[in-house]
Every structure is written in C-alpha cells, then in structure tokens.
Point group: C4
Chain length 201, copies 4
C-alpha cells in the first residue's frame, strides 16, 4: 500500500482542523469596537495554533514523502496523531476566552495546562509515527541516511521539551507558559528552517 | 471511470466528518476547571467516534484501492455509506452531553440507542458497498482471491453483530451498550490488524 | 491548464458542503426522546439535501473527466456553481426547523420557496458550466459525440423543470413543493442511472 | 520537494474556508419572511467573500502550476497567506450583521475597516509568495518569461491599491468602502480575465 491516499486523507484533516480555528473568533456582544479590541487574546491564540498545526503539517509532509510503504500499524499511529491535531481548536478557544477575561477572573492556569497537554499529545503522536517510520524495515526509502534522521528527531525533541516545561509551569505561571508556547511556534517556524534532514529525491 | 476522484471525494467527506467531532467539545459555562472535568464523557465519545470514522476510512481505503472500475450504482451506494458517516458527530454530541448529566437525569437509554442505530447504518452501508464490489464483474481487480475476500467480510461482520447486540441492549443497559461500542472501536483498531485479506499489488 | 486541481478544489468544496449538513441536526432542548422524534423533518431535509449535493457532485465528476482544458471563464462559471452548492445547508436548516413547527405556525411557504430558489440556482449554475464545456472549442475531449451530450442535457433539464414547478407551487402548496423536491432527489438518484451519455474512455 | 502536496493542502484550506462562509447565514429569529429579507447584507457579504476567496484560489492555482520546487521558506510564506484566507469568514460575518443593523446603530465603520484590513493581509500574503516564487532561483519553471510575470503582478497590485483606498475610506465613508470592496471582487473576476501572464505548458 503506497502512501498517496493516507497523505490525502491526512492533508484533508489538517486543512479542516486549521480552518476551523476561525470559528473561535466569535462576533462580540455589545459595543463592537471595544469588543473586537478586547478579544486580542483570541487573535493571538489563532495565530499560534495556526502555526502549530501548519508546521506539524509541514513536518508530516516532509516525513511522508520518503515513506514508500504504509502498513496498518502506521495508519493507526497516524490516526492517533490526527486525533490530537483535530482537538487543537478546542483549547485554542479556551485560551482566547479565558485570557480575555483575565483581569476579572479568567482561569488562565487551567487553559495553559490544557493547551500544553494537547501540544504534548501532538508531539508524542508525531514522535511515535516518526520512530515507527524510521525503525520499521521497508517503510522508509532505503536510500535515506537513518543516522541523520535520528539526529534530526533529537533536534525536534529539544522543542518538545519546551512544551513539557511550559505545561509544568502552567499552574504557577500561566502567562509565562502561554508566552513560551507562542515562542515555540515561532521557534519551529523560523529556527528549524535549515533542517531538511533528508537527502534530496 | 476509474476510482481516483471518487476516492478523493470520499476522503474529503471522511476528513471533514472526523474533524467536525471537535465542535462537540463545547467550552463549559461557569467554573472552568470543574466544567472541563465534568465533561469527560464528551472526550470519551470523541475518541470512540474518531476511531470509528478513522477505521471506517481505513477499510474504505483498503477496499477501493483494488477497485478498477467505478460505475454509477457503486457511487450511489458509496454516497449512502457517506450519509451514515457524516451523521456520526450528531449522536456523538448527544452521548457526551447526556452521559455528563447522567447523575441528574440524562437520557442515556435514548442516546445509546441512537448511537447504535447510526453505527448499524454505517456498517450496513459499508457491507452493501463491499458486496457490490465483490459480486459485480469488472469492478474489482480480477487477480484478487474472491473466496478470501468473502471470508474477510465474515470476520468484519462478527464486529457488526456487536453493534446489533449493543443497540438491542441500549433500552435496558445503556451504559453496557456504550461500553460495548467503545470496546468495538478498539476491537476494529487492534484485533483486526493482521486482516489485509487482499494480496499485495 | 488541465482540470486536475480544479477538480480537487471542487471536490473539497462539495465534500465540506455535504458534511456541514450534519450541523443542522441540533441537539434538542427539553425531553430528549420527544425532541428527537419531533425533529424528523430535519432528518428528511438532511437526506434530501445530501442526495442533491451528492448527485450534483456525481454529475460534476462525470462532466469534468472529459474536460481536457480548463480556462479562466470555465473556472469562474464553476465558482458560481459552487457558490450555489455551498449555500444548500442554509435552506436545509430552515426547512427542517420550520417544518417541525408546522403545526404551531412554522412558515413552510417561505422555506419551500427559498429551498426551491437555491435548487434552481444550482441547476442554472450546472447548466451554464455544461453549455460552456460543450460549446467552447477545445475544452472537451474531441472524440466525444456532442449531439449525444446535448440530448443528455435535455433529459437533465426535464428534472430542472421539476424544481421550477415546485418553486412556483411553494407559496400555495408548500408541502406539495417540498415532497416534489424530495422526489426529484430520488429521481436523479435512481431514474437517471442509465445516463452515462459520454462514451467510455 | 515538488509542489503536489502543498497544492493539495492549500486547496483543502481554500475549500473549507470558502464553504464555512455559509455558517454566517444564521436562521433569523421571529418572523421568518421579514427576517430573511432583513438579512440581505449577509447574502451580499457571502457573495463578495466567496468571490474573493475563490479568485484568490484561482491566482494561487495559476501561480503554483509553474512552481517546480517548493522549499521550506515558500511553505511558510504560503502558510501566512492561508492564515489570512482562513480568517475571511469572520469579518464577512461582522459585515453582514452590522450592515443589517445599520439603520438602528450598526457599527459599519468598524466592520468596513476590519474587512479592508483582512483583504490587505490577504493581498500582502499573496504578493510575498509571488515575489519569493519569482525571485528565488530554481523555484519557478525556468522557461517562463520573468519580465512578463513582474508586469502581471503590477497589474494585480493595481487592484491591491483599491483595498488600501477602501480601508482608508472606511472610518469616514464605510458604505462607500464596502461598495468598493464589492466592486473589486467583480473587477478581479471579470476585468482580469485576459491575464494568463504565464505561457502555456
């Protein structure tokens, strides 16, 4: 079984999940101008989650284009990864709403914790797919340098440690945790640019 | 007419339906932490329905990659199958909400029944597509072993019987029925792994 | 410009529009069992609109697979067709809701009229794409029998006349109009089966 | 890395964003007939935004079919463009709602400003992708006439100036600004028809 339709289905799920983020931008009640200014955390949460899902898609794409054979176990692991991706709009909505109410009692501790847990789930899902792809004989293009792949994954997991730290911080310093999550999305977008890790086709 | 665009359209429908499941996770009113804990049935319903749709996609994919000719009847049967798949987020929402209110009067009997009926509709839709594909000359790749295919379908229908039992149980033992539906999604995910049933390409 | 990506985009739009129909199934307030029974018009509207969009997709697919060159005008006409397809979930929601309130004052006349107008818009969109494809030199595969194509379109428009009649009936006999719309979706599904109209590839 | 899966993912995002526009058509409260007539601005906003996203897709498609190599920077720029496309349903909803309340105090100034800003963001996103594609060696098919491409982009940006003017007008003449945005969507649809700009394949 080649990877074409698995990629097509995954692309569809990524595309829908990333687009549903717009449904978190609720038209404000009452004075429109004040309401739109007041909901700035929702815009920020939109941008951070859009980058997170988008970059996860980039990595998914970069990995799967070297996959030459998809078996049922890989598809189940992929499904578990997608299960975490699809859920992202929910904590994104919570972060936007609670942060907007921060001054009068929004529960930022809980939302930072929930957001971090979903990010960890997504990272774990991706890591399990990655290791399966690398370790299972015959799944990956044989010509690839596997030592280099493992090293690329280590660099990737340096970022994953950031999500662990942020999630551990959440109950004490929720704003610091959320800022860290925002910075991590930028880190993955800009810092990892020179990480092709896989030789050209 | 080859199967490419039918698969593309079906993949799109599966991908959107599975992603809309996240819209069932409603931000709770009142105390956020208590609210998020209280809605655990919605998380469980999300996971079970995600697996159900995802594994139905896997089976759809496994079947269609051996289809070499798609006629209009097959497309109509496929459309009826998709009609059942698309509806899944609705009973999933009902299960999550009613189970959360179980202690103070949620109607779990009705939701277990509705969920079971939708699962049965999905299984019937898949089975009708399957039999059409197997029995109609020229639809399936001629090199396939049809006896093996029929046996694979029998094993598949063993699971289908589980949905019938659960649905029959629903009005008396709704929780048992819902637990059975959850176990069936795991059964299809893990137990059927070594069921390729169709020779390699 | 070949038709591949236009078909991919159109498939995506059809797939999302058909799947959004499930969002019209709102969890009922109050007693669940009575509420679910009371909303039977929403189920019926779901099935009819699902068939309408699904069969429009089948026809779109049957037409485009013979298109060998897509120009900008064809893409704009296709966009106008999709604009009508995407709007279908809205009148479907209205029909389901108003019909459920029929006994105590639902406005079925208005919803039957709106539903009919959207169906006419969809039929006009499809017809304009069809004629452009048939009449514009170089768009369609040259080997096709264009006389046969024109005749197929006439048969197709027999159905379109049904939408005109239903819409004209709507302000006087809204239920008859809605029943006619339902029958037309079945007509297109079952009666037109032997309408390949285009020679095999 | 070729452009196939990037186009597939982008097509998915465009398709979902354009289809979510229908969710802005909210079933009216109270008298249905009067309510449906009263919400005409929502229909107009639907059409204008549908054309805007649809034509942006056409341009995206026309550009990417000449892209022969996609690198990570291009994918990030594309992601930023999609971030603007996905947000369109939000200001569309605001425009429809506020314009309907115009006579009794809807805040059209704010919504015209917000709509214009999102259009500018989309135009900037597209322009940055365009320049990267044209200027980066090896990204575009070498056989293309780059001088002609640059000129096509200038014509494209004539329209972009219209969004700047409309947005600047918004706080003083919101209705004029909204009418201008509507006309611009028609301008891109009809006036730019003879703008292939890129030689045939």
């Amino acid at each position: 079984m080649n990877s074409g339709r698995t990629e097509g289905f995954s692309d569809g799920v990524f595309a829908v999940a990333i687009t549903l983020l717009v449904l978190n931008l609720h038209a404000p009640e009452g004075d429109l101008k004040a309401g739109l200014q007041h909901m700035w955390p929702a815009y920020l949460a939109y941008v951070v989650s859009f980058l997170n899902i988008g970059i996860m898609w980039l990595n998914h794409h970069a990995m799967f284009r070297h996959v030459v054979r998809v078996d049922r176990k890989l598809q189940l692991l992929n499904l578990v990864l997608l299960m975490a991706v699809v859920v992202v709009p929910f904590p994104t909505d919570l972060v936007g709403q609670q942060l907007a109410h921060n001054l009068h009692g929004g529960d930022t501790k809980t939302v930072a914790l929930v957001y971090g847990l979903v990010m960890i789930a997504m990272a774990l899902g991706f890591t399990s797919v990655w290791w399966y792809v690398v370790l299972r004989p015959g799944v990956l293009d044989e010509r690839l340098d596997k030592a280099q792949l493992r090293q690329a994954n280590l660099r990737f997991q340096v970022g994953g440690v950031g999500y662990l730290i942020g999630t551990a911080l959440a109950p004490w310093q929720p704003l610091a945790a959320l800022i860290l999550f925002g910075l991590l999305s930028l880190y993955y977008a800009f810092e990892h640019l020179p990480q092709p890790a896989v030789p050209a086709e």
